[in-house]
């Protein structure tokens, strides 16, 4: 591979070559001397005793050595750079892992991208693969052979709800180092051509019409279970599809013959989104809704599991009628409570020393102290606590006890005076609210129902079970357990089961697959469903094919080429040494 010179002006120094030649020519020419005959000077036998003829081989050798030294120095000064071997420069491939690449199945962008990458990988090593998801994810260790790369590529499943390619590319540059080249593989064109000369952008998508579920939920409204489905025509042409909704008798929707409960033909205009609301019978188990086959199969089906939403059992032990009325009104507004006197999950009382019979019951104590004061603020609020979500205490007059010593961990304080505290014991929470209605305006502000709502929701979330049971692909769901369990066996839709640890009786599972997840917590089984509901990924209208970016741009010279001036200098030194040795020998 021929070197390129970054400072060709240095070749002006080659003018020294004629000077060297002239020096040798003049030095080598002896003075001309006429003799009568040369025959008396031809004494070959004693040549080495002195007066030898110039040994032409020796002097030219020195000359050529000096010439070589000169040329090598000039070459080094000219800044020769040699193109770095392709195999020497790391390649980081950023793979768009969003599910839009699964359009057209075997002939889709994923398949074509895989084939192109396989061709590109020949001759490259090492290679790193990075999955572009919500956050970049490295796909395995560095690989040095195309076979290893192709094996790793099998982990490119395209199941992410979105792909932050910019973040992934930035991560790839950091991962690969200064000399790395980055290849972004996706299904759409870049917003602007890559201006980074180390980046190439390959797109293998094709614009296709697609009708998809873009939203789906299942909830209870006025005691009636309702299913909402949003269907979008993500193309510029009107299109038609058929919606089929079926109920699976099994809780996990794993049934071969679901019972159809609804079917309708839907005509959608260009870019139209239509909501379908279905009233469900009480006790309806898993729902499976399907659309007609089109370019992208993942977004043509949703599974909606019933939300196990039970009201929080609340026991009201408040003797102050005014306070009782305020509490009941706020609690009922949440629509998540049922007042009971037996086996409560939350006890609300105005008695500082009251105890709950139920060992798992939480306590909310509203303590009215005689030695009280009105506090105008400023209030110090622990915003990380669930009870303070949405509270805005500006302008609120909070009347309560003014002693600085109070039971529990402060949540809201007025200076050093705790006004709301929390004391946790064995998973139970004992919340103390210091309040004098006659000195306060808190109960007259929106903060009052918010506070009660937060208390009830907090308690509801602590009830064992999965919340939510229907999540979007990539979202997280939380599992709350009643008993202490060390780990939960999680079986995703691809049935690759794994054990996940449990901390503080809760664990979080991210839905990275599409389908129903089964959770086994020491015999207690829970399920939740994950659906590919992402309009941006279902929209194939902007998909395109093409290649952008050029790794051979001149701006990449500093990365593409490595200086080989040191080679010329080293050779010059070696030649100089040889010259010195020969010159010393005369």
């Amino acid at each position: 591979m021929l070197p390129i010179f970054t400072a060709p002006l240095a070749f002006i120094a080659l003018l020294a070559v004629p000077a060297l030649v002239a020096i040798y020519w003049l030095r080598q020419r002896g003075r001309e001397h006429q003799v009568s005959s040369l025959m008396l000077w031809l004494d070959e036998r004693q040549r080495r005793e002195g007066g030898r003829r110039f040994e032409r081989l020796q002097t030219p050798l020195l000359f050529f050595l000096e010439l070589a030294i000169l040329l090598l120095i000039v070459m080094a000064a000219a800044g020769p750079v040699s193109r770095a071997g392709e195999s020497q420069r790391p390649l980081v491939i950023v793979l768009d892992d969003s599910f839009s690449l699964l359009a057209d199945r075997e002939d889709g962008a994923r398949a074509r991208a895989g084939a192109a990458i396989e061709r590109e990988l020949r001759g490259y090593a090492p290679v790193r693969l990075v999955l572009a998801r919500e956050t970049p994810q490295v796909l395995g260790e560095a690989i040095n052979t195309p076979e290893q790369a192709m094996k790793q590529l099998q982990g490119w499943q395209c199941r992410a709800p979105e792909a932050d390619l910019e973040a992934a590319i930035a991560f790839a540059f950091e991962l690969g180092g200064a000399r790395a080249r980055v290849l972004a593989v996706t299904d759409h064109a870049p917003t602007q051509a890559p201006n980074e000369s180390r980046l190439q952008w390959w797109a293998f998508g094709s614009a296709r019409p697609n009708i998809a579920f873009v939203n789906a939920s299942r909830t209870t409204r006025d005691g009636q279970e309702v299913c909402w489905l949003e269907i979008a025509n993500l193309s510029a042409q009107a299109s038609k599809t058929t919606l089929s909704v079926a109920e699976c008798p099994a809780q996990n929707a794993a049934c071969n013959s679901p019972a159809s409960i609804h079917q309708q033909s839907i005509e959608l205009g260009p870019r139209e989104t239509r909501r379908v609301t279905l009233q469900l019978k009480t006790g309806t188990l898993a729902l499976r809704a399907r659309l007609s086959e089109d370019a992208l199969a993942l977004d043509n089906e949703v599974i909606l599991l019933p939300e196990p939403r039970k009201p929080v059992r609340v026991e009201m032990r408040v003797r102050n009628d005014a306070l009782r009325a305020l509490l009941e009104k706020a609690a009922q507004a949440s629509q998540q409570v049922s007042f009971t006197a037996s086996d409560p999950e939350l006890v609300i009382t105005d008695q500082a020393d009251a105890n709950a019979e139920n060992a798992s019951a939480w306590m909310l104590r509203l303590i009215s102290e005689p030695n009280a004061a009105s506090f105008l603020g400023p209030f110090v609020v622990d915003r990380a606590h669930p009870l303070t979500e949405g509270l805005s205490l500006g302008g609120v007059v909070w009347g309560g006890g003014k002693s600085e010593q109070f039971t529990g961990t402060p949540i809201i304080t007025a200076g050093n005076v705790p006004l709301l505290t929390d004391l946790e014991r064995a998973g139970k929470h004992d919340v103390r609210l210091r309040l004098r209605l006659d000195l306060s305006t808190l109960h007259e502000t929106p903060n009052w129902p918010i506070l009660i709502w937060n208390m009830i929701s907090w308690r509801a979330r602590a009830v064992p079970g999965v919340r939510p049971t229907n999540v979007r692909l990539g979202a997280e769901t939380a599992l709350t357990l009643d008993a202490n369990v060390e780990s939960v066996r999680v079986t995703p839709p691809d049935h690759q089961a794994r054990q996940l640890p449990v901390r503080d009786r809760t664990m979080t599972v991210k839905a990275d697959g599409i389908g129903v997840y089964e959770l086994d917590a020491g015999g207690a089984k829970y399920v939740f469903a994950s659906n590919a509901l992402r309009q941006e990924e279902s929209d194939l209208a902007e998909c395109a094919s093409g290649r952008w970016g050029d790794w051979t741009q001149a701006t990449a010279l500093q990365w593409e080429y490595t200086s080989v001036a040191w080679v010329a200098l080293l050779l010059a030194l070696l030649t100089l040494s040889a010259h010195a040795v020969l010159a010393a020998r005369g």
Partner: protein, 290 residues
Amino acid sequence: MNEEYRQALIAGEQAGMRYSLTIPRQAAVGSLGWHLGFSAGSSLEFKDHREYQPGDDPRRIDWNAFARTDKPIIKLYREEVSPHLDLVIDGSRSMALAESAKAQAALGLAAIFAVAAANAGYSRTAWVARGQCLKVENSHDLPSRWAGLDFDYRGNPADSFMQAAPMWRRQGVRVLLSDLLWLCEPLLVLQHLARGATAVIVVQVLAEADIAPAARGRLRLVDTETQEQREIVVDDAAIKRYRAALSRHEQNWHRACRQAGAVMTQVIAEQVVDGWNLSELAAAEILKAS
């Protein structure tokens, strides 16, 4: 012929007035008139007797001896020799070595020999060896009037004698003026030179630069005749070897001259032209003051 050569001829002519040519002792002298040859001839000087052989002139039968011995005996008389000088000048370029007086010395010596020969009663012919022996224009006239003498021959002067027989006078004295710095077999050259001659004299004219080169250092030696060049570092060792080679070369010629009955002497050109001192020739009994 340039003016410098002309002046050398004039100087030699003037110097030669003081000398006459002699034949060295090694060569036989006598004959009718002035000089006699070595072989039997028709002169009146009795040399020997021998038996008559068919073809002999009957008039030379010595009848008295026949009466005494009863054998036909004829008288032998020494041959008469005409005194003539063939002066052969080496016309090669080496005789005109730059920065030397070889050409002037050679021409001056030629003039001296010509005038000295005339003083001795010799007729003379001057020749210049330039591939063949060419007669010098006006060579029978005074040397100062000779013409066509140039030292520009690039070949071997020996070819002048060996390739074609020159028109030298039989029984004449032949003088060769040369630096002898050419490759040949000296005896072979001398045999050709001495064929039919009464005496052969070889005068080696060398420049001081030929005998003791003064130049030192890195030299590009150029052969005057062939223009061949040779890059040589000339130091004392090189000069030593050169002089040894020159000595061997001269010894070869001396040996050949002895074998051929020739007389050889050496002069140094610069010393010759410096006052035309001819002591070497006088010592060799080639010239004598008249």
